[in-house]
Symmetry: C2
Subunit: 253 residues, 2 copies
Amino acid sequence: MAARMSDPLAPQSVGVDKLLLKLRVRDDVSALEEEVLRSIIEPPVAIASRSVVVKEGIPLERSALLVQGMLGRCKDMRDGQRQITEVHVPGDFADLHSFTLKRLDQDVVALNDCWISWVPHAALRAVTDTQPHLGRLLWLSTNLDAAIHRAWTVSLGRRDAPARLAHLLCELQVRLSVVGMADEDGYALPLTQVDLAECLGLTAVHVNRVLRQLREQGLATFRSGRVTIEDFKGLRRLAEFSTDYLFLDKRPR
Amino acid sequence: MAARMSDPLAPQSVGVDKLLLKLRVRDDVSALEEEVLRSIIEPPVAIASRSVVVKEGIPLERSALLVQGMLGRCKDMRDGQRQITEVHVPGDFADLHSFTLKRLDQDVVALNDCWISWVPHAALRAVTDTQPHLGRLLWLSTNLDAAIHRAWTVSLGRRDAPARLAHLLCELQVRLSVVGMADEDGYALPLTQVDLAECLGLTAVHVNRVLRQLREQGLATFRSGRVTIEDFKGLRRLAEFSTDYLFLDKRPR
DNA sequence: TGGCAAACTTAACCTAGGGCAATCTCATTC
DNA sequence: GAATGAGATTGCCCTAGGTTAAGTTTGCCA
């Protein structure tokens, strides 16, 4: 499997590094805590595009830290429709909530070729026992996921298709920036238009129409796996996007 | 304010009791842990219907345990539209995520007259420092909220209006049962049709149409603040509802 | 007990986005 | 370098749900 992957070299520690980038935007992480984190994270393993990393309902003893690529949380409906409820970027734990819940309510699927690092729940339990502040930081990271879920709920409930797409493009721009994977111009987005549709509660055909709209309005272009942001201000305005829900600062404690 | 409320008697400890019911469905809570929980929860205070309990963005030092009534997490849009991203029932912490995030990304609003108990973040910090298992249980309860968010995302993205409404009615039936506030027949639901619309990403007019549909199909009736479930099986089938995402069991640890 | 105001209900019309099918593009493989 | 297949694109038609605008019912308070 790994032989077919575009980047066959396992990224050694970038997973933890990106996790640390993500956490340190929100709070201080001491050298000791960093050491502890590094010690509980297993070496990365390769995951083939489109494979199911974690299946809904199965009892779990570990959680997956995404090192490279993108993962989605997917719910399949009876009629074959699918909804993606979150897109994970490197540095995210895709299923840290399974540490408390012991299984998942939805599948975690690789949206492209990925590298992930497993973290045993036993080690996480030890962290919450002996490093309460670090434990609270991990708790925080699951609460960030929840905040993202709420933002998606708002999008699906109250934004029309162009605003919804623009909101997703803005969100990914910001989340990828945090882990150093986006610049002002845009970012690599290894999804298909079908995937986007499954994030946005739309059909692939309509996503295609709306992508063209954004392109023709000079806001953003999505082509061959790359999002080019032409007018971030305009995109933000269209989406009514604010970074508040991503908690990009350290608050007084 | 309290003078105008329908039930002027402060329910003394039912908030903690319902929280314990909720937690004990998911895991064991020792007598000591119960004692600790009771000790950190302040006496209930009355909240008038429609008032904002917690405003988005404000730095917070405490979280609200809902004792009686219902709360909603609301996002207001520029154009006056509003999306509710979760409905809280007694025994829920409405904003426990603010313990790690230090503020909210959305307002918490009283959907009717409520009683809530505040819990200081300092006390929660002490719990995570000295009672790691109890700390993990509180973490779990925020992860339950996230699972509910994901279920709503799926509803908004992939279910049509009747299925979406049916799904919400099923969810509340189950969540209220856990805290002893629903029976086989149904439950009190102190929301307006506008509130339902704001949960479901629909207009109030369409909610009204769909309520009639469910009534005429003999599935459920919502009238004068009460949901009567006439055919739970049928409602479940229509909604493609499963209780899996509510994690109603204790898993091996 | 009557007068409001909020909530609910219904109808007529309209539109954003879905459904379906054909075509196009391009990368991969033999 | 032809065959293949996944993804992207476009057009046409249609429906679920929105919009607007009346009513009607209900509960509250003077």
